[in-house]
Subunit: 350 residues, 3 copies
């Protein structure tokens, strides 16, 4: 399976994860495993009795469980928070996509680019003039870093990502493969009232991305028409997301796959936005807003809360409406019955 | 139009396709043509009288028709199944994207990669250490094959596809341009109850793709958090599809463009899933399920059948509800009338 | 911020933009700025009193306003059409993604390709045999130009775009980063009634793109099964759009992000299609049709107008239905009340 087979004894893991081992200290564990899968060299976790049942029959090597779980019939490590301990083990097992230190001989780096020490630049990377690459930053093969881009420290740009010119990215941010940052915003007007042809509005702004941001694979963030498109610190964007020109995504918001934020819109802080959501142009969403999948935001929405539907409504309202929609056949029947009964009554009391 | 102009006489084609020619044997045919387009060197097909009418006036060179159609006024070849014969002719005309045999001198191949004989590796391909490339596999320019990836025999990886580490692909599978396989799953938690910043859940699993799979252009398949994301044999994914971490797509299922399957979800076998569909996280869809375009699956759905809507409903129910929704103005009016009539009646009978 | 800091005095700008200056001629302006942002070196515009209020307090260097606005307290240039003058200034400030003239030594160009003079071909571009590149065309790093492709004059292909074989692109068209043109259409049939495996329908057609077209980042346009997929002149496609095989997009239509047009569908001229719209397979949309975001077109739609919803309805109808849907809880309550009142009345008049 995995290429590099590191392993730990259960004794070592109990020690590293700060837990108490119930079982043989010498059993070897090679990898994390989702609950319910068989793997005598795997370690999983169970926070609830339901998951534990699933795990006990699965043939896994060992399980992380809450303190006080006692002997379970399979090796276990008791910890304070099994999910967190599993996260710790995931981090232990994490093997970054390999890249050699230094600059690969095939990389085409402008002599006018500014490269700090301690970077890794892979095969067939292009870095244009006036670009700045911070300390410890890794740029994987085929990435294109346009003129005047600025990457902070420990940034990671995965293969095939494209940064047009004037894209700034803060420290420790991650850009996944195939993401395109800084392509032209989508702006056109007609040439004349007779509408002969569309005229492009030149897009001359930039994209600014804060620190600790993650940009998913094949996600597009357009440059501003003028000024900047802004992704604030700590934002996490999933795959295939579209961020329009001049929009702002507030600190620590997360946006799931295939969601679109229109041009000149502003999304607040700490939001959680589901997949395939649409936020139209020129609207504002406040802080601490949750949007369930497929929600359509068509006007400003400031009140913190959980929303769903098109247009976005508080989720309780939206679910009630959705349920009533499913009762439309019944409602229609009730109206028909009312009409018949009323007609009869009208006839009778004429 | 097409670069290489091969051609066949109608006599040759009747022979190759196993049909009976009505018309001149020496007329030359150069290419397949959709029904209704003009092209004296083109061949099309017509299964029904409607299509035949469209074809007869179109100026096409010849038409494939069912046996017993007789003379039609334009050259025709009578065959058992016109659509299948047309498919046969498409296959005759198919010209694979050209790539030279062997390894292009600009390809950067790790000395620790294992390349079987008979492969074609194009310009500017990167193959990392411990990757295995099977016999007869073609890898087009700019593809990135990450550490420990394993490609079977006769696999085809089109330009600019990206495979992060630990991606396995079965025999004869096709990965289209710009697809990204193995990027991190989308998993984050808060650092603390005070929610200062999001913490990334390390993604250490892999992606396993069976044989005879097709992955569309710009489609993203995330690696598992732990364990594997699994695309079983014979699955066909269209363009711009999103497959979340740890999900499973069952054998021979097809998924149309811009559809998303959430994390840890399981899609059954032989399903047909339309475009822009969403299947949320942690749900299961059974075998032989058809989901019409834009359907949203929010909970388990095991019963084979055709579904539509959000949440997914049997399509007859969903269409009935959709039709009634369009009658809401009328229903509203009927309620108003009932109210007025009832008020009058109440008044009258007081 | 921007890399190259050009600047103009207000006097120069008033002259270039054909306006009348209210304010000091020597103030220097370096860049366009969205209304409401602070930048003493920025120029913005205000067409309405609302925008002007926003601008006056913002700390911007100067503002373009309609003729007759008079002294405003900040420097201003009076012009006939402020938005158009701002567009003119945007064009002045536009700095194309830099690329050197000529062919970069790392580009891999087939000796059988035909390259006209005056082209720019960047690092690590691949141009296959029988491709033709017109005068003044720019091809950025990592673009793949497949066999038999034909690019007109002054075409611009941004980094990482992929053109499979037989793609023709007209003069002055723009293909943004990561776009994939000419990948296989999505066509499969079962091998037999027992449905053992899916069989690929070979895709042997081409893609034809007219002049003055713009293709957004990460947009996919599939090649035709036979014949051509056609994007007519002046069409503008946003990011992450999917165009199916054999479809036609009519002249000067614009399509916003994440929209999908199915296979063999025909979209008319001068249409404006919002984001996340779906047009299903084998339907036709007429000229001068506007589709609001998320609309689903499921059958032919010829009448010019503005549409919304699934299925697409005239927007007034669609909004009325949407509003009534939100009143379903109230309608349900009214039906209940009617039932109660009617039951009472029936009882009373028995």
């Amino acid at each position: 399976m995995e290429t590099t087979t590191r392993s730990w004894t259960l004794g070592e893991l109990a020690n590293i994860l700060g837990g108490t081992l119930e079982g043989p200290t010498e059993t070897r564990i090679c990898r994390p495993i989702p609950a319910g899968l068989a793997d005598p060299e795997g370690l999983t976790f169970a926070e609830s009795p339901e998951f534990l049942t699933k795990v006990l029959d699965s043939g896994v090597g060992a399980v992380l469980v809450p303190k006080g779980s006692g002997a379970l019939g399979i090796p276990s490590i008791e910890v304070d928070r099994p999910r967190a301990a599993f996260g710790h083990f995931l981090a232990l097992c994490h093997r970054p996509l390999p890249i050699d230190a230094g600059i690969h001989p095939t990389a085409v780096i402008s002599p006018e680019a500014e490269i700090e020490p301690g970077v890794s630049i892979g095969a067939y990377v292009v870095v244009e003039r006036l670009a700045k690459i911070g300390k410890g930053t890794r740029i994987y093969p085929f990435a294109y870093i346009g003129e005047g881009c600025s990457l902070g420290e420990k940034v990671c740009v995965f293969p095939h990502a494209v940064l047009y010119q004037d894209v700034a990215i803060g420290d420790r941010s991650i850009v996944h493969a195939g993401a395109v940052i800084g392509a032209d915003g989508f702006g056109f007007g007609w040439d004349s009232p007779s509408r002969t042809r569309r005229v492009k509005v030149p897009q001359v702004g930039r994209v600014t991305i804060g620190s600790d941001v993650e940009v998913g694979a094949l996600t597009a963030i357009d440059r501003a028409t003028a000024g900047e498109t802004l992704i604030e610190q700590g934002v996490k964007l999933d795959n295939l997301v579209q961020i329009g020109h001049n929009s702002v995504i507030g600190e620590h918001s997360v946006i799931a796959g295939q969601t679109a934020v229109g041009g000149s819109s502003k999304v607040g802080r700490r939001n959680e936005i589901g997949g395939q959501v649409a936020i139209t142009d020129h609207v504002e969403v406040g802080d601490d807003v949750y949007l369930a999948g497929r929600t359509g935001v068509t006007k400003d929405l400031f009140e913190p809360g959980v929303y769903w539907g098109v247009p976005a409504k508080p989720i309780i309202t939206a679910k009630r409406i959705s349920n009533l929609t499913m009762k439309l056949p019944e409602m229609n029947k009730r109206i028909k019955e009312l009409e018949a009964r009323l007609a009869e009554l009208e006839q009778r009391t004429k």
